[in-house]
């Protein structure tokens, strides 16, 4: 679901302080790693997650640099979620064209390409490996795996509400749904995560 930008627009921004470049820099520096992880949980591809974060940063600066600093967190989160959805939409279109063109290729090439693409995909999927290995933290790995397994909307609501610490209203706006839905998604996500971690013998 794509949420339009105007929902956070203020009636009169001219009377308030526009965020300075330093403020935007500090804000993005504080949020960029969490944004990358959020994109990675959703997309599960290291390079695509980086692309998504880069696009989200560019969109924020290009379109909303005239907003006051306090409006940046919910704006950025909404842009990030929209960019993740855009990524899936583009992938869908790309896959459609690839499927359309693929019968034109001969069988030998097709087999070779499939193996290559599988190898590339596997490599991309395992790209985030080093930081997981470096952390050496089985608990963190289990938490991240459990988050990856959640339904997308539940994960989105949980991360916005408890990691980005948006309030229920801001989360609802960022997700383009009602506050009641946010509460339901968060409750289900919390229950599912607790169950998954308990199954893996992780206690927090």
């Amino acid at each position: 679901m794509r949420v339009e930008a105007g929902i956070f627009d203020a009636d009169d921004t001219s009377s308030r302080n526009v965020a300075t470049s330093q403020e935007i820099d500090a804000f993005l520096a504080g949020v960029e790693r969490r944004a990358f992880k959020q994109a990675l949980f959703a997309i599960q591809d290291h390079h695509s997650a980086l692309d998504v974060v880069q696009n989200a940063m560019l969109k924020l600066v290009e379109r909303y640099a005239d907003k006051p600093g306090e409006e940046l967190p919910p704006l950025f989160q909404r842009i990030l979620q929209n960019t993740i959805h855009d990524h899936f939409r583009r992938s869908k279109v790309r896959n459609f064209w690839v499927r359309l063109v693929s019968p034109l290729q001969n069988k030998e090439d097709e087999t070779g390409d499939t193996l290559e693409s599988l190898a590339a995909h596997s490599e991309a999927m395992h790209q985030p490996g080093p930081d997981k290995q470096a952390s050496g933290n089985q608990q963190l790995a289990a938490i991240e795996q459990a988050l990856t397994e959640l339904p997308p909307r539940q994960r989105e609501a949980f991360l916005l509400r408890y990691w980005e610490e948006l309030d229920v209203a801001e989360t609802a706006k960022a997700m383009g749904c009602s506050e009641g839905s946010v509460k339901t998604h968060c409750f289900r996500a919390t229950s599912a995560l607790a169950a998954k971690l308990k199954d893996r013998g992780i206690s927090l």
């Binding site: 960029e32 969490r34 990358f36 290291h46 933290n137 919390t190």
Partner: protein, 116 residues
Amino acid sequence: MTQHDDFPYRLTASLSQGIQDLDAATAQQLAQFRRRALSARAHPSHAGAVLVLLHRHSFLAPLLVLALLFSGWWLMQSPQASYSAETDILLLTGDLPPNAYADKNFSQWLKKRASF
């Protein structure tokens, strides 16, 4: 706050601890993206904006190609032939022989005459 209420925050605290261990290459790339975004604010580029637009809306690329093909076809269909035929008739029926237009001195003479 009960033990259960606290669970999401304990979980996200672990996540926050985890992002401190993000590999250096990824952290550097993120910092680079941030600097690039901020420099885009300082120096907005129209060419860059077009590329970004095409990247974000990849479905626009086939439309652009179709538009170029259509404009090429339209230009080919434009009435160039009749224009050149008219010019030919004017040249052949005029007082001056066609060779006069190829003469360098003739163009200089025309310029001088126009300046008077």
